[in-house]
C-alpha cells in the first residue's frame, strides 16, 4: 500500500471491529458498531463501501450478502501509517520538534559517543551503589 489512506472516526471504529472479529456482514457490523453510536445501517453500509474502495477490506459474497474482512492486519496498517509520519518528519525536520519524543525518532547518536556516554553512566551508577 503506497500511502495508507486516512481514516475518519467511524472508519477507524469499523476497522477496529474487523481487526478484532475477523469477518462480518453489514447487519452484524451495524449492531455492534452503528447502534452504540446512533448511526444508521445506511451509514455503516457507506462506510464499509468506502473502506472496500480504499483497499482496506476484502469481501466475499455469501448468499445475498457480502461478508467483509480486513485486507491488512492492524499491526501492518499501524506500521505503514507510522512510517509515513516518520518520512514526513525526515523531510520537514523542524516538525519533529512539535512532537515530544523520549528519544529522537529520525536521528541516532554516533556509536562511539554512545559507548562513551554509557561508560560514564555505568561508572556513576556503580559509584552511587557503592556509596549506599
Amino acid at each position: 500500500m503506497p500511502h495508507p489512506p486516512l481514516l475518519g472516526e467511524l472508519e477507524a471504529a469499523v476497522m477496529d471491529y474487523f481487526w478484532s472479529e475477523a469477518r462480518a456482514d453489514v447487519k452484524s457490523l451495524h449492531k455492534e458498531v452503528g447502534v452504540p453510536r446512533g448511526v444508521t445501517a445506511n451509514t455503516i453500509q457507506s462506510t464499509v463501501k468506502r473502506l472496500y474502495e480504499k483497499g482496506l477490506l476484502r469481501r466475499d459474497k455469501v448468499s445475498h450478502a457480502y461478508i467483509y474482512q480486513a485486507r491488512v492486519d492492524r499491526a501492518e496498517f499501524q506500521r505503514q501509517v507510522l512510517e509515513e509520519v516518520i518520512a514526513h518528519i525526515s523531510s520537514e525536520p523542524h516538525d519533529d520538534a512539535l512532537l515530544s519524543a523520549f528519544v529522537d525518532m529520525t536521528e541516532r547518536a554516533g556509536r562511539e559517543r554512545l559507548e562513551q556516554l554509557e561508560a560514564l553512566v555505568t561508572a556513576r551508577l556503580e559509584a552511587e551503589e557503592e556509596s549506599h
Binding site: A12, M15, Q78, E92, A97, M105, R108, L114, E118, R124
Partner: protein, 322 residues
C-alpha cells in the same frame, strides 16, 4: 483615513518587529551564554519569550506608543496633541492627521505584512498535515488505561506525546517490552511532564510567532527551546528515580532504536542526547528564589517607556512618511 491609519499602524508594528529581531540577533551569543546557566524550565521560558519577542513585544510596544493618546481620551487634561504643530504626524487614536504615504512605502508595508502572514501560516499548515496523521495513529492504536497511553503494535520503538490542547501519549509495544521496569517508569514520567507542561503547544506558538527572526537565529533558538523542554522533563523524571537512572533510561531507549551510524558531524536532533546525559550527570542547576522582582522591574520600565516611545515613534514615522 482608515487605510492610512491601518498602514501606519502596520508600518509601526513591522518596524518594531524588525528592530527587536535585529537586537536579538546581535545579542544572541551573549543571551545564549547567560541562558545556558539557567535551570531548564526557566531557560525554556526565556527562550520562548525571545522567540516570540518580535511578535509579542512589537504588539506591546505598539500599545505603549499609543498609550499617551489613549490616556488623552480618558483624561482630556493629558491630551498633548494640541502642542504639536500641524505638520507633525500624530500617532493618536483621536487626532489622526490625514497622512498620504508614498506609494512605494505602502507597497513595501503591505508586502511586509503579507510575508509576515505567510511566515505565520507555514508552520500551522505543516502542523495541520502532521496532525492528521497523528490523529490517524491515535484512532488505530489501542488505549491502555493502566499506562494512560495509546499503544501501537509496531517494531519501531516509539514514545511520544502528540496533540496541543489535549496531548496524548503514544507508545509502541516494542518500547514497552524493550525497557526495564525502571526505565519504563522514567520514560512515562518524562512524557507525562511534557503533557503537563503543554510543550507541543508551547513549541508551535514559538514557531508561529518567531517568523520575524533571521532564519539562522530562529533555528538556533528553536533548537535551544526543544533541548530546554526535554531537559525540563528529564528533571521532572529525575524526581521519580534519580538523575543517573534517567540518563540510563535515555541510553537504553536509544539502544533500542535501530541503525546506529558511525560518528559523523552532529545531526539536528541526534546531538541532543549527549547534552541531556551530561546535564543529568552534573549537579542540578539551582532555581532562583523569586523572579517576581525581575518582572516587576520590566513592567515598570515598559510603562515608563511609553511617553518617550510615543514621541520617538512619531518622529520616525514623520521622517518616513513626509
Amino acid at each position: 483615513m482608515s487605510s492610512s491609519l491601518g498602514l501606519t499602524l502596520l508600518l509601526t508594528l513591522l518596524g518594531f518587529a524588525l528592530l527587536i529581531s535585529a537586537l536579538v540577533a546581535l545579542a544572541l551569543p551573549l543571551l545564549r551564554a547567560r541562558l545556558a546557566l539557567q535551570a531548564p524550565h526557566l531557560r525554556a521560558r526565556w527562550l520562548w519569550l525571545l522567540l516570540t519577542a518580535p511578535s509579542l513585544l512589537a504588539l506591546v510596544f505598539l500599545g505603549l506608543a499609543l498609550l499617551p493618546s489613549i490616556a488623552g481620551l480618558v483624561f482630556p487634561a493629558l491630551d498633548h496633541c494640541t502642542t504639536h504643530h500641524d505638520a507633525h504626524l500624530h500617532l493618536c487614536v483621536s487626532h489622526w492627521s490625514l497622512t498620504a504615504a508614498p506609494r512605494w512605502l505602502g507597497l513595501l508595508v503591505t508586502s511586509g505584512g503579507a510575508l509576515a502572514l505567510l511566515g505565520m501560516l507555514h508552520p500551522l499548515l505543516s502542523y495541520r498535515k502532521q496532525r492528521q496523521r497523528m490523529c490517524q495513529l491515535e484512532r488505530i492504536a489501542q488505549h491502555d488505561p493502566a499506562l494512560s497511553a495509546y499503544v501501537l503494535d509496531v517494531e519501531r520503538p516509539l514514545a511520544l506525546v502528540t496533540g496541543l490542547l489535549q496531548p496524548r501519549l503514544l507508545l509502541s509495544l516494542s518500547m514497552i517490552r524493550g525497557l526495564s521496569p525502571n526505565a519504563l517508569q522514567v520514560m512515562l514520567a518524562h512524557e507525562r511532564a511534557h503533557i503537563e507542561r503543554r510543550d507541543n503547544l508551547r513549541k508551535l506558538l514559538a514557531r508561529v510567532l518567531s517568523f520575524a527572526h533571521l532564519p539562522g537565529v530562529r533555528a538556533r533558538l528553536m533548537d535551544d527551546l526543544v533541548l530546554a523542554c526535554e531537559q525540563a522533563c528529564d528533571e521532572r523524571a529525575a524526581q521519580v528515580l534519580g538523575r543517573t537512572h534517567v540518563a540510563r533510561a535515555l541510553l537504553d531507549a536509544e539502544r533500542l532504536c535501530p541503525q546506529h551510524r558511525p560518528q559523523t558531524a552532529a545531526s539536528h536532533f541526534g546531538a541532543m542526547l549527549e547534552p541531556r546525559i551530561l546535564a543529568l550527570l552534573a549537579p542540578p542547576v539551582p532555581t532562583p528564589r523569586s523572579e517576581r522582582y525581575v518582572w516587576f522591574i520590566l513592567c515598570t520600565g515598559l510603562i515608563l517607556l511609553a511617553d518617550p516611545l510615543h514621541h520617538i515613534t512619531e518622529n520616525a514615522l514623520c521622517f518616513l512618511l513626509r
